[in-house]
C-alpha cells in the first residue's frame, strides 16, 4: 500500500495550485461586479460614513492580494460571510441545502452508470448491428437534449397526467430515505441522460479499441470463447476508463443540477445559486461555487485513488 499512499501525497501536492486558482477565481467574482462592492453591501441609501466603515470592515481598502489571503483564511475557518439578502450565514445555508443536491447527483450518477455502461458494452459487442445503431443514435440525442426540457416533459406526463411521481419538492434524506428517493426520481432521471449518453459512447469506443487489439486477437486465435474474452480481458481493461469517465460526469451533473433544481423546485444549492445570482447576492454565489469546485476536485482525487487500487501500475507511474 506504500505506492498508493505515496500517490495520494503526490496528487494532493498537485491539487494545491489547482485549489489556489479555483479559490482565487471565486474570490475575484466580487471584482467583476460593476460599481463599488462597499456600496452594494451597504445598500443604495447608506451614508458616506457607513460606506467607508463597511469598506474598512471588509478590507476593500487593502491590496487585492492581502484581501485574498484574508478571505482564504476566513474560508478555511468555514466563515463564508453572510447573505446580502437574508443575512443568514452562507455556510449555514449551504450545509442545509447541499444534501439535496448531493442526493440528486449521486442518484443520477448511479442511474447513468447503471444504464450507460451496459448500453456501451452491448453496442460494442454487437458493433454494426441495428441495436448498436439504435444505441449510438440515442446517445447523440442524449447529449443534445436540454435536460430541463426533458424535466418539464417528465413532470407533465409522470406527475401531472399520470400522477405516478410528485411534480416538485424534496424531502431530506435522513428524515425519510424512501420518500426522499421517491421525490428525487424524476429530477435524477432528467439529470442522468447526459451521463448515460456519454458513458454509452465512451465505453463503446474504449471496448472496441481493446477488443481490436493484438493480444485479444491472439486469445481469439487460441480458441477462447468471446464471452470469456469480453468478461475476463475486455472489461477488465476498460474498467479504469469507465471509472475515470464516470468521475468526470460529476462536473456535468453539478452544471445540470443548477437548472433542474429550478424545474423541480428542489431546495438544493443549485436552485440557490441561480436565485442568488439573480439577486446579486454575491457571498452566497461565491460560497456555493467554492463548495462545488472543491467537491469536483475531491471527486477527481477519489477516482485517481480508486484507479490506483484497481491497478497498482497506475500508482507507480504517476
Amino acid at each position: 500500500m506504500h505506492g498508493i499512499a505515496g500517490m495520494i501525497a503526490r496528487r494532493l501536492g498537485q491539487l494545491v495550485p489547482v485549489a489556489i486558482v479555483a479559490t482565487f477565481v471565486v474570490f475575484s467574482l466580487v471584482f467583476l461586479m460593476p460599481g463599488d462592492p462597499a456600496i452594494i453591501i451597504a445598500g443604495e441609501y447608506a451614508t458616506p460614513e457607513r460606506i467607508a466603515e463597511i469598506r474598512h470592515l471588509h478590507g476593500f481598502d487593502q491590496p487585492m492580494l492581502i484581501q485574498y489571503v484574508n478571505w482564504l483564511w476566513k474560508v478555511l475557518h468555514f466563515d463564508l460571510g453572510t447573505s446580502l439578502y437574508s443575512s443568514e450565514e452562507v455556510a449555514r445555508l449551504i450545509v442545509d441545502r447541499l444534501p439535496h443536491t448531493i442526493l440528486l447527483v449521486v442518484y443520477a450518477l448511479i442511474l447513468g452508470a447503471a444504464v450507460g455502461i451496459p448500453l456501451g458494452i452491448l453496442a460494442a459487442t454487437e458493433q454494426g448491428s441495428t441495436l448498436d445503431k439504435i444505441i449510438t443514435t440515442t446517445a447523440s440525442l442524449g447529449v443534445a437534449i436540454p435536460n430541463f426540457w426533458l424535466g418539464i416533459i417528465l413532470v407533465t406526463f409522470f406527475a401531472l397526467t399520470w400522477r405516478i411521481f410528485p411534480a416538485t419538492g424534496a424531502t431530506p434524506f435522513w428524515q425519510d430515505p424512501v420518500e426522499a428517493i421517491y421525490y428525487a426520481t424524476l429530477p435524477a432521471i432528467a439529470l442522468s441522460t447526459g451521463v448515460v449518453a456519454v458513458l454509452a459512447r465512451q465505453v463503446r469506443s474504449a471496448l472496441l479499441e481493446v477488443l481490436g487489439s493484438q493480444y485479444i486477437r491472439t486469445l481469439r486465435a487460441k480458441g477462447l470463447s468471446s464471452g470469456a474474452i469480453l468478461w475476463k480481458h475486455g472489461l477488465r481493461n476498460v474498467a479504469a476508463t469507465m471509472l475515470t469517465i464516470t468521475g468526470l460526469q460529476v462536473n456535468r451533473l453539478f452544471s445540470s443540477a443548477v437548472i433542474l433544481e429550478a424545474v423541480f423546485a428542489v431546495p438544493g444549492v443549485g436552485s440557490l445559486i441561480s436565485y442568488s445570482a439573480l439577486n446579486k447576492d454575491i457571498p452566497v454565489v461565491q460560497g456555493i461555487a467554492l463548495m462545488l469546485v472543491i467537491m469536483v476536485i475531491l471527486t477527481n482525487l477519489l477516482v485517481d485513488v480508486l484507479n490506483a487500487i484497481l491497478d497498482p501500475r497506475v500508482a507507480a507511474s504517476t
Binding site: P17, V18, A19, I20, V21, A22, F24, V25, V26, L29, V30, L32, M33, P34, S140, L141, V143, A144, I145, P146, F148, W149, I152, I153, V155, T156, L160, S205, L208, E209, G212, N251, R252, L253, F254, S255, S256, V258, I259, A262, V263, I273, S274, S276, A277, L278, K280, D281, I282, V285, Q286, I288, A289, L292, V293, V296, I297, N300
Partner: protein
C-alpha cells in the same frame, strides 16, 4: 468545386499526430456533403436557421411582442400555427425571433472562448518553461469548475443579461480551447518544416502565424463546432433561469420557462421551443463529428 472523393484525400492517415507537413485540405465541398448525409442535412438546417434569424422581422407572421389578450394560450390553429403564449403572442413568431438570440449567443460565447483560448494556448505551447507551467495551472483551476456553475456565478457578478451570460460561458470555454491548442502546438512546433522556417530566419511571430497556427488549429475547429451546441444549451438554460435573455425579448429557453408555468393549461406550448433547441444542438454536433472525420480519416475505420 472540385469533385474529389473525400476518402481518398492523402491526409493524416499515416500521421495521426498531424506533425506531417501541411497537407493542403483540398476536398470538394459537394463530395463531403454527399459522403455524409447527416452533415448535409445539418448544414442545410443551420443555414435555414441563420436565414430565419436574419429575416424574422420580415417573414414572421406576427410581431414577436404583439399581445392578443383574446387569444391566450391557444392550441395550434390556422391563424397561429404553433398556438399562442400566456400573453396571446404568436409562438411561431417568437420562435423565429428567438433563433436570432440563440445563434448570437452561441457564436458570441464560442467567439470569446476562441479569442482568449487560441492565442493563450499557442503562446504557452510555443514558449514553454515556467510561463507554460504557470498558465497551465490556471487553466486546470478554471477547468475544475462545473461550467454552468461558473457561468451562473460570473453572470451574477457581471449582472444578468444575454451578453454578460455569454461572456461568462465564453470565459468557461477559453481554458478548454487553450488546452487543446497548447497540446497541438507542442506537437507541431518540433516538426521539420517549422525548424526549417526557423533556419531561414523566420521571426517568432512569423513562425506562429504562418506555420504553427494553421497546422495546430484543426482539432480546435472540431472542438469549437461541438461547443456551439454546448453554448446553445447554456443560453437556453440561463434564459430559462431568467439570467440570460430578458423579457420581452424572445428566447427559446425563456419561452420554455413561460410554457412550464402554464403547463397544466396549455401543455402543447412546451414542445416547439424544446425541439428547436434539440434540433439545433444536434445539427452542431453532427457537423462537428463530420468535420472530425473529414480532418482525420483514420477515425472512420474504427
Amino acid at each position: 468545386m472540385t469533385d474529389t472523393d473525400v476518402t481518398t484525400i492523402p491526409a493524416a492517415r499515416t500521421a495521426p499526430t498531424r506533425a506531417a507537413p501541411p497537407a493542403p485540405a483540398r476536398f470538394g465541398f459537394w463530395a463531403w456533403m454527399r459522403s455524409d448525409k447527416r452533415a448535409a442535412v445539418s448544414l442545410a438546417y443551420l443555414l435555414l436557421l441563420v436565414a430565419t434569424a436574419i429575416l424574422a422581422p420580415y417573414v414572421a407572421p406576427y410581431p414577436p411582442n404583439e399581445q392578443n389578450l383574446l387569444d391566450l394560450l391557444m392550441p395550434p390553429s390556422e391563424a397561429h400555427w404553433l398556438g399562442t403564449d400566456d400573453l396571446g403572442r404568436d409562438t411561431l413568431s417568437r420562435l423565429m425571433h428567438g433563433s436570432y438570440n440563440a445563434l448570437y449567443a452561441a457564436f458570441l460565447a464560442v467567439g470569446i472562448g476562441v479569442t482568449i483560448g487560441v492565442p493563450v494556448g499557442v503562446f504557452i505551447g510555443f514558449v514553454g518553461g515556467w510561463v507554460d507551467e504557470l498558465i497551465s495551472r490556471v487553466i486546470d483551476g478554471i477547468l475544475a469548475f462545473p461550467p454552468l456553475v461558473l457561468a451562473v456565478a460570473v453572470t451574477g457578478a457581471l449582472g444578468i443579461g444575454l451578453t454578460n451570460a455569454m461572456i461568462a460561458v465564453g470565459f468557461a470555454f477559453a481554458p478548454v480551447i487553450a488546452r487543446t491548442m497548447r497540446a497541438q502546438t507542442l506537437v507541431v512546433k518540433n516538426a521539420l518544416y517549422v525548424e526549417a522556417a526557423q533556419g531561414f530566419g523566420g521571426s517568432r511571430a512569423h513562425l506562429i502565424v504562418r506555420h504553427i497556427l494553421p497546422n495546430a488549429i484543426q482539432p480546435v475547429i472540431v472542438e469549437v463546432t461541438l461547443m456551439l451546441a454546448v453554448a446553445l444549451l447554456a443560453e437556453a438554460g440561463l434564459s430559462f433561469l431568467s439570467l440570460g435573455v430578458q423579457p420581452p425579448e424572445s428566447s427559446w429557453g425563456g419561452m420554455l420557462a413561460r410554457a412550464y408555468h402554464y403547463v397544466e393549461v396549455a401543455p402543447a406550448q412546451m414542445f416547439a421551443p424544446g425541439l428547436a433547441i434539440l434540433f439545433t444542438a444536434l445539427a452542431f454536433n453532427a457537423l462537428g463529428e463530420s468535420i472530425r472525420v473529414l480532418l482525420d480519416p483514420t477515425i472512420k475505420r474504427r
